[in-house]
């Protein structure tokens, strides 16, 4: 009997079986089901099912983030329908306009734990793999089905292993690692896979850098992604549990509970493929229009004129990302003819960024700071480009038309590259600005 992958262990647990194998279809019972502004649509499908009450209100989490605050009356009406449903069904894990992007907020609020299963009506539900949870995106009919019945069919995916060792050079981030992987193996390189990340580069990364990785794996075709949870993860979660459960202090039992939930693949588990990367050989990368896998080294696109630089989203809107941008922007100004937009991923991120002076730095540099949420990521509002304009952003996807018009270009990069480009007015290398800071 060969060993089990993370996916096999997690879906065995979620379906109440002693073991399952890749390829098998199981009825899984998710620990959490997430949705956002699409919850009104889901509630209508739920009503079409003919049941009065959701099965497990405590397992449902809803955050308003995609178009917040409401840009049009139609969006406002959509939000009202969600609030009504939430009240009627007694859904406590509801996060209002301004709290932030669902994946960030649900991580901060600890609605799911290592080893657990979260399904979400959003393709970036892969994000929760940062803590070793099984997170996968589903459609809205499926979310309605879970609300009504508490379960959903899932196929146990095959697994792929990516081992990353070595130290990332200065100015090179987990975003660059992901762009490199997707550029190398293309947008369907991980199609349908559970993509497991291992290696010393991953374990030495901050939590915030780690979150980028499973988030970006949605662009790789992955069903879910997994990073092995370690002490750093347990500490991070326990601290938030203290806050969200209003406990006095972090206790040993919180940590040991997390340790006991965590799942790790067996050494002899079967993988469809294994790849290795040496982090020390990586450089900053940019995904060029209109495909996430159209990846080039930064040096090849340096100098491309931009009109907008957008720092934010569930990929790179966290404190560490804002810190990296503030480091570049301190004492500098956004180039004439260029706009810079900063949208923190959550209210907690915003509040901490204020305390640390980053927001002041952005405003003094001439950047705009927006309400925590998805911003213009999905083309609804708050910084959509005009036809013919070029954006560089920290987003996870740059498909044609995503930001509202099919006639605009979007380049994807790390926060430091986006900030450096804002200063220069063209795609720029942050390492040159660090250099400049040293020599002055």
């Amino acid at each position: 009997m060969s060993g089990k992958t993370f996916a096999e262990k997690a879906l065995a647990r979620a379906s109440g079986q002693s073991q399952v194998v890749a390829g098998q279809i199981v009825d899984a019972v998710p620990d959490a089901v997430m949705s956002h502004d699409n919850s009104a649509a889901i509630s209508k499908i739920f009503r079409a099912l003919g049941v009065a009450r959701v099965k497990y209100p405590a397992r449902i989490a809803i955050a308003l983030d995609h178009a917040v605050p409401a840009p049009t009356t139609a969006h406002a009406v959509n939000h009202i329908e969600i609030r009504k449903f939430v009240e009627e069904q007694g859904i406590e894990k509801f996060f209002e306009v301004g709290r932030g992007i669902s994946h960030q907020v649900l991580s901060e609020e600890v609605v799911v734990l290592p080893g657990q299963l979260i399904l979400g009506a959003d393709s970036h539900t892969t994000t929760y793999g940062w803590m070793g949870a099984f997170g996968a995106g589903i459609g809205r009919s499926e979310a309605a089905a879970i609300w009504a019945t508490g379960e959903l069919w899932l196929r146990v995916p095959e697994s792929m292993k990516i081992i990353v060792d070595g130290e990332l050079p200065r100015g090179v981030t987990s975003k660059d690692l992901c762009l490199r992987i997707i550029g190398d193996m293309k947008a369907d390189g991980g199609l349908y896979m559970s993509v497991e990340f291992h290696g010393s580069t991953i374990s030495s990364m901050s939590i915030e850098s780690r979150i980028v990785i499973p988030n970006m794996m949605a662009e790789f075709g992955a069903k879910n992604a997994y990073l092995p949870p370690d002490e750093k993860v347990f500490e991070w979660i326990a601290e938030r549990q203290v806050k969200s459960q209003k406990l006095k202090a972090k206790s040993e039992s919180l940590i040991s509970n997390l340790q006991s939930l965590a799942l790790y693949p067996d050494a002899d588990a079967i993988y469809a493929a294994t790849y290795r990367y040496d982090a020390s050989t990586l450089e900053p990368y940019v995904a060029c229009p209109h495909r996430v896998d159209n990846v080039k080294p930064l040096s090849q696109v340096r100098g491309t004129k931009i009109q907008q630089a957008f720092l934010g989203t569930c990929t790179n809107g966290r404190l560490e990302d804002l810190a990296a941008a503030a480091e570049i922007l301190r004492g500098k100004t956004v180039a004439r003819g260029t706009r810079m937009l900063v949208i923190p991923a959550s209210s907690q991120v915003l509040s901490e960024a204020i305390a640390r002076g980053y927001i002041q730095t952005f405003i003094e540099a001439g950047a705009v700071v927006g309400v925590p949420g998805c911003g213009p990521c999905v083309g609804n509002h708050m910084g959509v480009p005009a036809p013919g304009e070029v954006t560089i952003s920290t987003m996870n996807r740059n498909f044609r038309g995503r930001m509202g018009t099919r006639d605009s270009d979007n380049y994807l990069a790390s926060p430091a590259v986006v900030a450096a480009s804002a200063v220069v007015g063209a795609i720029a290398d942050p390492r040159e600005i660090y250099q400049d800071q040293v020599t002055r």
Partner: protein
């Protein structure tokens, strides 16, 4: 189940943003309106010219990107019965099945079928007949076949939950 219809053929990696643009996801809610925007950023002729019974042929990784279900429902509302591709992105694959649109994986048929030709698909015999020949595709798993046969996930759950006799409201509205 058997389908007979005209083919609209597209390339590799067609994503859900071009199948149904994100800017409409919360404001365009009527099925007829949703159908009008089908494939808007990929093929401006599709929505106005597609006929009920038409089929789509795509390359690899059809439907990658956003989980938005309208990328499946906009095809359903235009009358598309099946999508034949070399491979599908997984959420979109599920969305097609759950809305009763048949996803078929068959790389050799994709290469053989010409844009605009009329083809025959037999789901029970799992064969595709086109001008240049006949092709077999792997049968859908029984779970998926049942969902499609019943007309979609919602219809199937109503049967399972014993709520089939209740009136079926028209489902409107969007979501990413």
């Amino acid at each position: 189940m058997k389908f007979h219809g005209r083919v609209w053929k597209y390339g590799d990696d067609v994503n859900t943003d071009v199948i149904f643009p994100g800017k409409y996801t919360y404001t365009v809610t009527d099925p007829k309106e949703i159908a009008k925007h089908a494939l808007e950023d990929l093929d401006p002729n599709f929505a106005s010219q597609a006929q009920p019974g038409d089929m789509i042929v795509g390359g690899k990784n059809w439907g990658n990107g956003s989980s938005r279900e309208q990328a499946a429902t906009c095809l359903k509302y235009t009358g598309v019965t099946a999508v034949i591709a070399k491979s599908f992105a997984r959420i979109h694959f599920r969305n097609l099945v759950n809305n009763g649109v048949v996803p078929i994986v068959c790389a050799s048929a994709v290469d053989a079928i010409q844009n605009g030709e009329t083809i025959d698909v037999d789901l029970d015999a799992h064969t595709i007949k086109c001008a240049t020949g006949d092709f077999d595709f792997p049968p859908l798993s029984p779970t998926l076949f049942t969902i499609i046969e019943t007309g979609g996930l919602i219809q199937m759950l109503r049967r399972k939950l014993g709520t089939e006799h209740l009136p079926m409201p028209e489902i409107k509205s969007g979501g990413d």
